[in-house]
Symmetry: C2
Subunit: 290 residues, 2 copies
C-alpha cells in the first residue's frame, strides 16, 4: 500500500537555498534540468514519465533538489491555477499513469510554482514581491515581509459504525464516485477535533475514538492530507447539501467489491477514488485491517 506524492527521493539540499553562490553554481551546472510543463501540467514522455529540458534563461525558478548530482528546477508560470479543484479531476486520473517517483516530483513542483504565480504581491502591503531562497520564499520589495509557500492541512476520515463505512459523494463528483469525507483543519483545532467537527457538519454524525492513519501531500493546489479513522456514535445521517451531494453507509463486502480491480465498473457498488488519492489508501488500509 503506497501513498502517492510522497517519495520523490530528491535531496532537497536546503542549505543551498540560503546560499546565492551555491544556487548560481547549481543553475550553471551542465547537469541542471528544468521540468517540462505546459502551464501547470506535466509534459509526459513516451514512457509516461516526466520530461526535462535545459534550464536556459528562465527568470523565476524553484530549486527542487538534487537527483544524484543533477540539480532539478521548475519554472514559475505566467499564471497560477485558480480553477476550483473539481474541474481538475480528469488530471488526477491521468496522473495515475506517472511512475511514483515522477508523480512525487511533479506534485511538489506544481504546488510551489503555482504558489509563486499567485503570490506576486505582498499580502501585508500590496507591493510586488520577489522570489528568494531558491524559490522557497518571496520577499516584499517594500515592507520587508517574508512569505513562505503555503501548505493547507486537511483532515480526511473513514467513519465506521457496526462494521460499515460512511462515504460521501462530493458536490461535482462524477456520478457514483464515493470517497472519504474531508475538510480543512481550521485555526484553533487539532486534527482530531477537525475530524469530529467536519463529520458533524457534513452528515450530522458524532464521532469518537479518532485515530491517525497516514498522510500525503495533494498538489491541487497544496494540501497536506491527514488520513484518519473514527467511530460513529450513531448512523442516522443529516446531510448538509451545501457541502456534499450524498453520503451513505457501505458494508465491508460492498467496499471490497468496489475496490476489486477484477470487477467491471458497472458492477461496483460505487466507484472508488483514484490511486493518487489518500482516500484510496485509507480504503485499502481498512479492508486489509479486517
Amino acid at each position: 500500500m503506497s501513498l502517492a506524492f510522497c517519495e520523490h527521493g530528491l535531496n532537497r539540499d536546503d542549505h543551498a537555498r540560503a546560499n546565492p553562490e551555491r544556487l548560481a553554481d547549481l543553475r550553471a551546472s551542465p547537469l541542471a534540468r528544468l521540468l517540462a510543463m505546459e502551464g501547470l501540467s506535466p509534459v509526459l514522455g513516451a514512457d509516461n514519465g516526466l520530461t526535462w529540458g535545459e534550464l536556459g534563461e528562465v527568470a523565476e525558478v524553484v530549486f527542487l533538489g538534487l537527483d544524484g548530482d543533477a540539480p532539478l528546477f521548475a519554472a514559475v508560470p505566467e499564471a497560477g491555477d485558480t480553477r476550483p479543484a473539481y474541474q481538475q479531476r480528469p488530471a488526477w486520473d491521468a496522473l495515475s499513469l506517472l511512475p511514483a517517483r515522477d508523480l512525487a516530483i511533479y506534485g511538489g513542483a506544481r504546488s510551489l510554482v503555482d504558489w509563486h504565480a499567485r503570490h506576486r504581491f505582498c499580502a501585508n502591503c500590496g507591493a510586488p514581491t520577489q522570489i528568494a531562497k531558491g524559490g522557497w520564499q518571496r520577499n516584499c520589495t517594500s515592507c520587508s515581509a517574508q512569505h513562505f509557500p503555503r501548505t493547507d492541512p486537511v483532515a480526511i476520515m473513514l467513519v465506521e459504525h457496526d462494521g460499515d463505512l460512511l462515504l460521501g459523494r462530493g458536490l461535482n463528483f462524477p456520478e457514483r464516485r464515493y470517497s472519504a469525507l474531508a475538510g480543512f483543519v481550521e485555526p484553533g483545532e487539532g486534527v482530531e477535533q477537525a475530524v469530529a467537527r467536519e463529520v458533524l457538519e457534513e452528515v450530522g454524525v458524532s464521532v469518537t475514538q479518532v485515530s491517525y492513519v497516514a498522510s500525503q501531500p495533494w498538489p491541487f493546489p497544496s494540501q497536506l492530507m491527514l488520513g484518519c479513522h473514527g467511530m460513529a456514535r450513531g448512523r442516522e445521517l443529516t446531510i448538509d447539501e451545501t457541502e456534499i451531494a450524498e453520503a451513505r453507509w457501505f458494508t465491508r463486502a460492498e467496499v471490497a467489491t468496489a475496490m476489486d480491480r477484477g470487477v467491471p465498473d458497472e458492477d461496483r457498488p460505487f466507484l472508488p477514488p483514484p490511486p493518487t488519492a489518500i482516500a484510496r489508501h485509507l480504503l485499502n488500509w481498512w479492508l486489509e485491517r479486517g
Copy 2:
C-alpha cells in the same frame, strides 16, 4: 495528559459564516461578546481568565462561534505581529495561566485576527482585500481571488535510540531549555517524510519507524503541530548550527527528572518546554509509555 489550544468547546456554526442575515443577527444579539485584547495579547481578569466586552461598532470582526447562545467575536487589530517567534516566549509561559478552554478560544482567535491584519492586500494582484464570511475569508476587491486563513503544518518529533531521547536547544531558546526537534512540512512531502528530513538536516541522524502521536494548534502565528515519534539509526550528531544551538541525547532518568514538578530548576538536567507546548505532552507521553 491534555493538549493545549484544542478544546474551545464552541459551536463554530459554520453555516452562519455564509449567511449575512444570520451574521447580522448574531452581531446584534444582546448576548454577543467581544474578546478583550491589547494588540494580540489577551486581557486577563482577576481569575486569570479571558475578559469580554461589548461588540460595539468594530469594523472588522471574526465570528469565533457560539458559547451556548452567546455569539463570540474578536476584532482585527490595526497591525499584526511580525516579530519572530522566539521574542514571544514570555507570552507562551504566561498563557499557561489561562484555563484550558479560555486558552483554546484565545489561540484560535489570535491566529485568525493576526492573519487578517497581515493580509489586507491580495497576494495575486496587490489590490485591497475585504473581510468576508464572518471573518473566515478575505475577498479581493479587484481580481476576485478568495483568500483563506492560513494554518502551517509543522512536524515535531521525539527521536529515540537505545532508550535515550534526542532533544535540541533552538537558536534563541533560554539557557538550558531543550525540546523536541521540529520543522515545517514542505510542499511535496507527507508528515513522515518531513520528520525524517528535518532530523537529518538539523542533526544528521537518519530516522525510521516514524509514527504519529498527537496534534495541537499553536497560535504563534498559526501552526498545526503534528507530534511524532521515530527511531534513530545511529546516535552520532552533526549539528546544523544555522538551525539549532545544541542537541544531545538524554537518558530516560534524565528526562523524568527534568519533567518532575517536585525538582527545583537548578537540579533538572534541562528545563522542559512549557505546558502549552505539544513537546511537553510528547515528553509526558514518552515517559508514561515506559
